[in-house]
């Protein structure tokens, strides 16, 4: 099978994340991703994935592939990305997450920032739980849960001083079955490799963690794949079967 380059930004929030700008509606996200020359994006809201299907649908026919996903907050307050194949039913996974997310009383004005939308940018509801809280999952449980549903587990922005597995746990436990570690756009890829390469044998990726439209595509990876599927990305991260992963 012929391999080609896919430019990917696999860490993007939508208007469902309370810290994501309201402008991050499906059409805006898809439009900006296309304008930036991206081939694959992942929708990764905090502790939820309720807008992922809408973004997938909004991208239909555009040539853009959308991986549904989420960014779990563990009980240690480390962020872990879970990325899944297009079309994966994340209902049972989300049910497990919500069961383990403390039902914090939130101000109405705050909940209104957690907007659930359809593919035409229509508002269909507001998520009632406070999504930025920490789940009761340990990092091990979070990675186990992501793997149970066939996903890739990636430690988010390990260079950041907040919500990174290194800030919270001092270092990356060697027995944690992560598929990769991510650095933020604050570091260049070569700086990140120099800083974190010696600390972890895991594949390194760099994505945008976009919360605003103009941030989409500010950090991307170029994957050499046969098709834009999660299994192919898994191979690319591992450098197997001729698949490759490189900073753009």
């Amino acid at each position: 099978m012929e391999l080609r380059r896919y430019r990917a930004d696999l860490h993007i929030h939508t208007c469902l994340s309370p810290c994501g700008e309201l402008e991050m509606f499906p059409r805006a996200v898809v439009g900006k991703a296309r304008a930036m020359g991206l081939d694959i994006i992942a929708v990764t809201d905090h502790n939820s994935a309720e807008n992922a299907a809408a973004v997938e649908e909004a991208a239909t026919g555009t040539g853009l592939t959308v991986f549904p996903g989420l960014e779990l907050t563990t009980e240690e307050e480390a962020h872990i990305l879970g990325l899944f194949d297009p079309g994966t039913d994340l209902g049972p996974l989300l049910a497990a997450v919500y069961e383990n997310l403390p039902d914090l009383p939130s101000k109405r004005s705050f909940i209104e920032d957690q907007v659930i939308v359809d593919a035409e940018d229509g508002v269909t509801g507001f998520h009632p739980r406070c999504l930025i809280g920490a789940t009761r999952f340990s990092v091990y449980e979070a990675v186990g849960l992501i793997h149970k549903y066939g996903g890739l587990a990636i430690a988010s922005h390990i260079d950041r001083e907040a919500f990174s597995i290194i800030s919270q746990l001092g270092f990356i436990p060697s027995d944690l079955a992560l598929d990769a570690v991510e650095v933020s756009p604050l570091l260049r890829f070569d700086e990140a490799r120099a800083a974190f390469g010696p600390l972890s044998p895991l594949p390194l990726v760099r994505f945008s963690d976009a919360h605003r439209s103009e941030e989409i595509g500010r950090a991307t990876m170029d994957f050499l794949l046969a098709e834009p599927r999660l299994e192919e990305v898994r191979r690319a991260l591992a450098g197997r079967d001729g698949r490759e992963s490189r900073p753009s």
């Binding site: 240690e76 340990s138 919270q168 001092g170 436990p173």
Partner: protein, 113 residues
């Protein structure tokens, strides 16, 4: 003050590491960001935290801390206890909050830097 005396005075529960209770406590540090404790914890400090991940034991060994107290009634995971046992790191606990425990420690002469 020895850790054993301190544990008795503040009614701390000992999860594991009885062998290390003879150790003198030089000072105290409180924090839940392990990266911060790695940067600022000092040898012989008693460390107050609510993190229960096994990495707390590694940080205590790395910084040669006197022991770890889990505040707020937090229970260590089985693996954390196992690792503390293996490394001989005293692992204690209290239902008191970290703030409250730090105050009591200060009251009996254990100071921060």
């Amino acid at each position: 003050m020895k850790l054993s005396e301190l544990a008795a005075r503040l009614d701390l529960k000992v999860f594991t590491g009885e062998g290390g209770l003879d150790r003198p406590v030089g000072g105290g540090y409180a924090g839940d960001l392990l990266s911060d404790v790695m940067a600022h914890g000092r040898k012989d400090d008693l460390w107050v935290t609510i993190q229960v991940h096994p990495n707390v034991v590694a940080v205590a060994v790395l910084k040669d801390l006197a022991g770890i107290v889990l505040a707020n009634g937090r229970e260590p995971t089985a693996e954390t206890i196992e690792r503390a046992e293996k490394e001989g790191v005293p692992l204690l606990g209290t239902p008191a909050t970290a703030f409250e425990l730090a105050g009591r420690l200060h009251g009996i002469g254990i100071k921060g830097s």
